[in-house]
Subunit: 150 residues, 2 copies
DNA sequence: TCCTTTTTGTTGCAAATGCAACATAATTTA
DNA sequence: TAAATTATGTTGCATTTGCAACAAAAAGGA
């Protein structure tokens, strides 16, 4: 079977490191922009869900969130219906940064998709969505200590 | 334009963290398997080229290589034609680990591609190849300090 | 040839990353 | 209801990660 892992990894690392370099201007530490974007788009989320959506380790997420809060970009509020949950919201400053992140991401996305037709882009988006769904289950299981057989 | 960055990142992180967990059995530290695979497949490469192909920071690559050498999985040999270059080769132990990495990667790849037809896989592989080529240039430039305008 | 630039490699340091291991609230089960 | 399990969050610690900043060899230019 043909391999997609290698190029997926290469593309991901390339775009990620470009973003991290470019977001130093915004005083965003490595890796933080992904969290901020999601919190801006889904205010009221909890850490655990965010980690699961992004497929980032729970504890790494916890610390990134802590830093975002320390830097005044988000705020945690205890869920009144569930003392255990801490809901995440962007601050005004966080919301102010959001469009800059989007603009950069859209540029990178446009560069990545150069030369592809609209149809090809649609196909690619659809296939990646399916791949993501395929892999999500294993990720959760393996993170929880389940051992895959192969 | 539709976005592919987010799902690419999610898929990449998911597969990567699964691999890193599963390769603890092989005493491979986080991130190391990608280097070892490439060195096994392209013996005699230099660090700089490896970093560029993988799109990983030069200094991070240098340290990963150092660890692989410390753990006896690869060996560096100074290029007789160029004192500055250190050629990378797998040791017997490194070569012994290689098939286990491949087997795991093939399994993850198969899981990722579940439900896709041969044609769809071919299309996906082709499109990802083009995306990778599109982004490579920017990555190199940005890493070298060039500022993108957008 | 000599000087400048590029290529390749390393190290200091600060930070992010992630496995264990824990704490506590909520939920499920007996 | 009480006990066991799950969900969510945190911290300790060892490690990787990556920007600066440097070193030295090679390549290019005048």
């Amino acid at each position: 079977m043909k391999d997609i892992l290698r190029n997926i990894g290469i593309i991901s690392r390339a775009l990620d490191s470009i973003s991290n370099i470019e977001f130093k201007e915004l005083d965003l530490a490595k890796g933080q922009f992904v969290y901020l974007v999601r919190i801006c788009e889904n205010p009221g989320m909890i850490q655990e869900k965010l980690a699961e959506i992004l497929k980032i380790d729970r504890t790494t997420t916890a610390r990134a969130i802590k830093n975002l809060e320390k830097n005044g970009l988000i705020i945690k509020k205890t869920d009144p219906n569930n003392q255990k949950n801490k809901l995440l919201f962007p601050t005004a400053e966080g919301q102010a940064i959001y469009p800059f992140i989007i603009r950069e991401n859209e540029h990178s996305n446009a560069v990545a998709l150069q030369g592809l037709t609209e149809e090809e882009i649609d196909v690619l988006v659809g296939l990646l969505e399916r791949v993501k769904d395929n892999i999500s289950h294993d990720w959760l299981r393996v993170k929880k200590g389940y051992k895959r057989e192969y």
